[in-house]
Amino acid sequence: MIEHRPGLTFVSHLILWLGIVVVALPVWVALVASTHPANAFAAGAVPLWFGDQALANWQQVLLGKDGDMSQLLRMTLNSLVMALGITFGKIAISLLSAYAIVFFRFPFRGAAFWMIFFTLMLPVEVRIVPTYQVVANLDLLNSYTGLTLPLIASATATFLFRQCFMSIPSELVEAARIDGAGPLRFFCDILLPMSRTQIAALFVILFIYGWNQYLWPLIVTTDDAYYTLVMSIKRLLSVDNGEIEWNQVMVTTLLAMLPPVLVVISMQKLFVKGLVDAEK
């Protein structure tokens, strides 16, 4: 601090806490709402303090109406499969292509680079209809392959690994060659272990990305055996008789946001590194 201004420091803290409260408000209300019976909302606003129905509501969502938790478990599993499938898929194919681009010289290397770069210009949202048609033609609707495969091409991850590989001193490659390491052994013994923090950081970011997918699972799944947690919220909101069970919605919302939020908080350092690296 350059000059001593206790007043200003106090105001800083105040603004920050105000920010934190505003940021946390919706989650607080959701948490509170999830502890009240459904009819509590009919009377008026969501109460601002916890009710006594927490156990019942959470039980109902967790275990299902008829006491078996298969549907929620199923959706959680689907979310997990999708998130991990996308994460591992993206990391794997990006590592391989970055490796090819940095450590080999071959005809059409530039063309391959630009083709990967091109994917940056085509987010799934702008080509949603034809992509759906392609996936449907390949008979991949309602399948884990259909949920993950179309999303795993990644220019960002490829660029990140490319950057990371290029910063590896060339002497290290030379030393490995003299030590008799061929390209695949070099990749496994040297490159992968040396990139492990980048991989871990990217893992955090991609897990969140995969878990939070909404539009894609919404259109490629019609069989509820493949529904994911995040997209299931839409079904809870569009009930036919118009009476939305807000307490259930809130429980599901909280459940669906819990895994990625926990990941961010528990792996904050990796998360920040992942975000910053991915934008280089």
């Binding site: 001193p169 030393a175 060659r177 030590d179 013994d189 040396m194």
Partner: protein
Amino acid sequence: MSEVILKQMGKTYPNGHTAVASLDLEIAAGEFIVLVGPSGCGKSTLLRMVAGLESISTGELLIQDERVNDKEPAQRDIAMVFQNYALYPHMSVYDNMAYGLKNRGIAKAQITEQVQAVAKMLELEALLQRKPKQLSGGQRQRVAMGRAMVRDPKVFLFDEPLSNLDAKLRVQMRVEIRALQRKLGTTTLYVTHDQVEAMTLADRLVVLNQGHVEQIGTPMEVYERPASTFVAQFIGSPAMNLIPSKMVDGKPALDVDIPVACPHLLASSVLLGVRPEHVDIVPLSETALQLQVLAIEALGAETLLHGTLEGWGDTAPTFVVRLAGQHQPALGERIGLRVSPEAWHVFDGDTQKRITQCN
């Protein structure tokens, strides 16, 4: 028997730049060869061609009479120590040293034995489980050497291995490298730009300049009979004084006695060289060679006098005298210099080559 033979070996890059012009060198088994020259002279390129990290554009490379031009680095049975050590940062010291052996499919027990033996020799035993990050510069240097030694290769290649160390450690490691190499008897090719390292380590020196060999010889040959002005100035510190001199009536214009009888038959102008340590001080009345002292560097054991020669006006070449012990001339003072005839080196003013005799 020659261990390594370079036959007209050269490197030209696709863009036409010639890094190394056709070079011939035969290295005897167990010999310590130092490639020395300023940066960009091609010495590292040459080393990397021997290692197999750069392709050889022309000529041949033979290791134990086998042509290895097209062999992978790993198949040439060479080991290399890099300037920045190139230790694998995620592997322990032990794994760093064992990696090359593992890749060659050597049995685990034997790897352990070999690594332990080398670690003992280099006093690395206590550090085997550490990561490179946890080591000091000197220790890393030792590990890099250990990694090279553990394979017991036919040839050691060193690429400026000491340049990242501080001055004191550098001297220590220099002595150690030489002692180890003698003990192991492994043929060694060593690149440096440091002429002190070159002089102290080498059995033979290869002085390179802009991709060409200026001279190949033992350190003393190179010091006593430099083949060109480049070598004369590169080897020895402070550098050799060079005085340009035109030929007048078959003699250099500078009136001194020189060891070559008839330079005028060979060159129209010459450069007369004398090492700073081969100059004596005499009373002004006894000599025409006079120095105006412009700076004094007193180092205790010796004194360096920097100045210009008298009688040259603005074009006077700078001249350095190195005297044993302590001397205190005043700045601006003139002092008389004497050089014995055999201490002069005569170079052709055009070709910059040494003139030895008339033909």
